[in-house]
Subunit: 382 residues, 2 copies
């Protein structure tokens, strides 16, 4: 990770502006050497942060810079919050030498806490003067309760993709995603890029469900510098999916308080979308996630979670396995609990559900629900 570089044409920096009381890096700046095509997906939450609206309005325009702060979501902050977004974009534009409308703004952290734009304005010159092609400082500056930076890369058809993300909690993407920033050197029209991003996000971040709480600030932004010729659409999609999937996996592994990664596989569903919905229903079940924490093969909670979502689910043609151990075979329990408990005792396991509806499949990533998650979110305003 430490040596990962942005694609040609992008540079970044990460500095400590003083937004996080800890003094950690909390302000990231990502700059394109010339105006670039970009695409994005955003939270659908009606309480979306003002910066989400700002970025959504910028779709279709070429961009020069992105400012992102951690330690404060600047969401539900009213008029003052809107002013802070504009002041942040204006300050970055001045540093970079571009238009205010060429700057994207993202924030992550506690909701409803006023964010003073002057703190960002004061720190931006240091960020601008330390721009470089390494992702390290930028990837650290966007973290909240994450315990490690999340970076991944891929290349296909001559084009490279580099992405960074933050995760940890309030993770239930719904036609939107997490905070992730991705660069590619591909020369690709905005509409094609948007289609590729939508496709990749739906198969990666949107298949991650930690606590079922949808964020006010979720965004995935992809900048395409155009330094290399346009790859085949399927190659760009594959590279984006590769990067997005790696980042989603890192988020699941770094979920707040989590001790294990849980893959929920749904097979034999009528459609991919229904398979994903069933998987998410299992992934957001507090009772199943606590059972996972205790390595208790309580597969009944898996069926209960699916049966609450799909009123037509036919239990008598449904099977459930934990690892390789079939717990419930087409309506009948098998009683192989000890072997399943052993499967669950490590830092990763898979629970598989096989339906008799069709041949669609989906895998949803989640993590166990631990006492530590409760403590983290009860004692700290995150």
């Amino acid at each position: 990770m430490a040596v990962t570089r942005w694609v040609e044409g992008l540079a970044s920096a990460g500095v400590a502006a003083g937004i996080k009381p800890s003094g950690d890096l909390d302000l990231g700046l990502l700059v394109a050497h010339h105006p670039v095509t970009w695409a994005g997906t955003f939270t659908r939450n009606a309480a979306a942060a003002e910066c989400v609206n700002w970025n959504r309005d910028a779709l279709g325009r070429r961009m020069r810079a992105l400012v992102v702060n951690s330690g404060n979501a600047n969401a539900c902050t009213g008029t003052a919050g809107r002013n802070t977004v504009e002041a942040t974009a204006a300050a970055a534009a001045k540093q970079i030498g571009c238009g205010v409308d060429e700057v994207l703004v993202c924030s992550t952290g506690p909701i409803g806490v006023p964010l003073d734009a002057r703190v960002i304005e004061r720190a931006l010159p240091a960020a601008a003067s330390s721009l470089g092609d390494m992702v390290a400082d930028f990837s650290r500056s966007i973290l909240t309760t994450d315990t490690f930076p999340k970076v991944s890369t891929a290349s296909r058809g001559g084009a490279s993709v580099t992405g960074v993300a933050k995760g940890a909690a309030m993770i239930a993407p719904n036609m939107a995603t997490m905070l992730a920033f991705i660069g590619t050197d591909a020369n690709v029209p905005a509409e094609s890029l948007q289609a590729a991003v939508d496709w990749a996000v739906d198969r990666s971040f949107n298949r991650l469900c930690l606590d079922g709480c949808e964020s006010t600030n979720d965004s995935v932004l992809v900048l395409a510098t155009g330094a290399v010729p346009e790859p085949e659409p399927e190659e760009l999609r594959a590279a984006l999916l590769d990067v997005c999937s790696q980042l989603a996996l890192k988020m699941a592994r770094d979920a707040e308080g989590a001790t294990k990664l849980v893959r929920v596989r749904i097979e034999g569903a009528s459609t991919d979308a229904h398979a994903a919905e069933l998987g998410r229903a299992v992934a957001r079940s507090d009772l199943w996630r606590t059972a996972a924490h205790g390595a208790d093969p309580n597969w009944g909670r898996v069926l209960a979670a699916m049966g609450a979502l799909d009123r037509q689910l036919d239990v008598d043609t449904t099977s459930v396995a934990i690892g390789d151990e079939v717990m419930f075979a087409k309506g009948e329990p098998t009683g192989l609990l000890a072997a399943a408990a052993a499967e669950m005792s490590g830092d990763e396991f898979t629970v598989s559900v096989v339906l008799d509806q069709g041949d669609a499949t989906a895998e949803i990533l989640t993590a166990d629900l631990s006492e530590e998650y409760v403590t983290l979110n009860a004692e700290v305003t995150t």
Copy 2:
């Protein structure tokens, strides 16, 4: 509670059949002296326990007895589970001297564990020989992780209503309810009784949401002995609502691991149903419930939970208060955090949301999410 009696015409018993490893009471028997009218609401979970299907099929017939066991949900138990329900009904019918099709069967406890009917058959004679009009033993025999029995009574228009319930977890009623057994001495046709039960359940148990996990066994069964003349419909409804609301409140207070009761009030909504949906969205937010646990007035999580449900929510006309302290006034944060934290520090508080959509209101009951909930559900198969 100890002296609460069933209405005239009903008798009950509770014995230890040996289903619970603890040796606590785990088999309840409720008997009507003559065939009685009844009504019920049931879980809509597609993985519903076989006993739920058994009882649903009995709607419209008059009933003589109800057998309920705790310590095992007999859900997702396949053919053996179906046989156990029939054997249980047959054994009770023999003890009571009635038809097999005059016996209702309920179960609660872990899902997917085989339940041996012989254990119940062996214990039923002792239950039948200890029938009496006190609710005490019966109310204890249906408990799982509950810490106290839940009993309530009401009377209106000359009719009395007595109800008992169990709660604790896997509580997210959805057009169905919890395990609750209610008797009334009113003489009321089955259709009227069903309408009254649906009405009361929608306004009581269906406004309780603890962990968002819908049970496979939820049922509310109401037996009407007909000993007193039919009350006015609104009086029967009021008495049923009174009993159901009291039981729902007891469930919320006894939620697994909970340290405080949280009332989520939604005002100014377009419809009662939408108000209730918004309230449930807040009530099932893990992040809001952990904030409640830590007495952290993190009202942004309330807005985020509602905004994820209602994409059209207008934050700029929405206000949020904790107790009497307004945290967010029509789009602007107020910053009164210390007073709100004090409001949250006791064993009960209210979070109120005022919308500008209409004049519908709803109050949803929930509880905080604690480390103890995780521990309980990670370490014990419940």
